[in-house]
């Protein structure tokens, strides 16, 4: 999907959503959600080429591919959380947005735990402490 289509879709969704909101706010929210999902999926589809390139570079450099997987997972988590947080803020659910943000941060850290472990092992082996 090209950027012009994405922009057009966004504007149309916004106009319809604003028009409907006066009469039925639930439908307006669902409409906004649908528009956001379509735009998000199209962007993810385009951005996957960047991820594939990064993955190929890692593989050709024969660096442990689990690192790039962790990084991509963390980036994905960030985008999904951002998407959900924005929707919650739009619908006036600030506290829910904050909770999603905290959950996102926690999940990114959990995803990065193998990296922490590797760094810790490297530091311990450098200082001569056996794990």
């Amino acid at each position: 999907m090209s950027i012009s289509v994405i922009c057009l879709l966004g504007i149309i969704t916004a106009v319809i959503s604003v028009s409907i909101r006066k009469y039925n706010s639930e439908i307006a929210f669902l409409l906004t959600l649908a528009g956001c999902i379509i735009i998000f999926l199209s962007v993810i589809f385009n951005i996957s080429t960047v991820f594939d390139t990064a993955k190929n570079i890692f593989e050709s450099a024969s660096v442990n591919s689990s690192y790039i997987k962790i990084l991509l997972k963390a980036i994905g988590l960030c985008f999904i959380c951002e998407f959900a947080v924005d929707l919650c803020i739009d619908s006036g659910q600030r506290s829910l947005a904050n909770n999603i943000s905290i959950a996102g941060k926690a999940l990114v850290l959990v995803t990065a735990i193998p990296l922490y472990k590797d760094v810790l092992n490297a530091v311990l082996s450098l200082t001569g402490v056996s794990v």
């Binding site: 570079i57 050709s60 660096v63 990084l71 941060k105 990065a112 490297a122």
Partner: protein, 373 residues
Amino acid sequence: MKKIIVFSFVIVVIAFSMFSASAETYENLLNDSDKKEAVNVLPDNVQDFLKEFGLDSFDFSNLNKLTLKNIFPKFLNTVSSESKNPMKAFAAIIAVMLLYSIIYGVKSTLENTLQPVISVSVTLCIICILVIPLTGFTETVVNTIKISSDFMTAYIPIMVFALGLSGQPLTSAGYYAVMMFTSQSVSRISSEIIAPFMKIMLAVSVSSGISPSVNLSGIIRFITKFTRILLVFSMSIFTGILSFKQVLSTGADNVSSRAVRLSLSSFVPIVGSALSEAYRTVQGSVGLLKSGVGIISVIAAIALFAPSVIQCVFWMLTLSFSKSIAEILNLREPCVILDSVYCVISTLFAAALCMTLVFIISSAVVVLLGGFS
């Protein structure tokens, strides 16, 4: 008169035969087991290199085989094999930073609270890419320094013997004392100070990169500066002591050599000057042996340290280029970690270079100052 002419002729023939045979004769006196012991200490790749050019037996006549045409392909091979790890790490770091820059580019749309978490993940990823190969590399450099000190310990008796043969007892004794002290000190310093110090520095720099709130780069920079000053200071002291000692002992040896030549030319009738010249020729040819042994040791030291030094240079280039790219992409956290690791590698480079120079300078001083007038 006839008898005198015949006697002079015989003496001259003996002198010339000494000239032609002395270097080989004295070279044979160098104990084979000493040479083998010195060469066996070296790693396999250095032994193979020395064997290929026939230098493993300290045979200086094979030095002519070392030509630019022979050496250059070997140098290129070493460069290509030693550059692999840094280049791989460079590619991986660039891939990670490009990904990070994409996220950084859409920062305004990303919620501010998620940004630090993702930057920590990126920094961790860069650390993992860098630290695992660097841990092994640090170990390799420290082992190379240890091997060099073992080689020095095994090589000193050979050089001392060559110096003794060339009629330089004082130079030989001075060289033995200084070099034995140096090799033992190098061994101790490398195993008890440099190795743990480098590892701790690397560990500290890695730890400082994990959290942006912990900034240890100042401490790392201070330690690096201090270590470099210490290395330069020790090198100056070592070179100074060795040079002064060699100048003095070479002067004393030259006086005794001149005294022998004066006695020969003054007290031996008719052929005294011929004998004096023959003595000088023998000294010259044994001096050649000594120079050969010295040069071979320098070649062995260069072959020993070249891979580590080349890889150090490539790591430094990798880290500098990566840091420049991080600065271009305006990524602060990767910059900090790359800068800290660069400090550690540059210190390691300085240590390896210092050890190589200790070897080269010690051999060069003895070879250059050990001439006869």
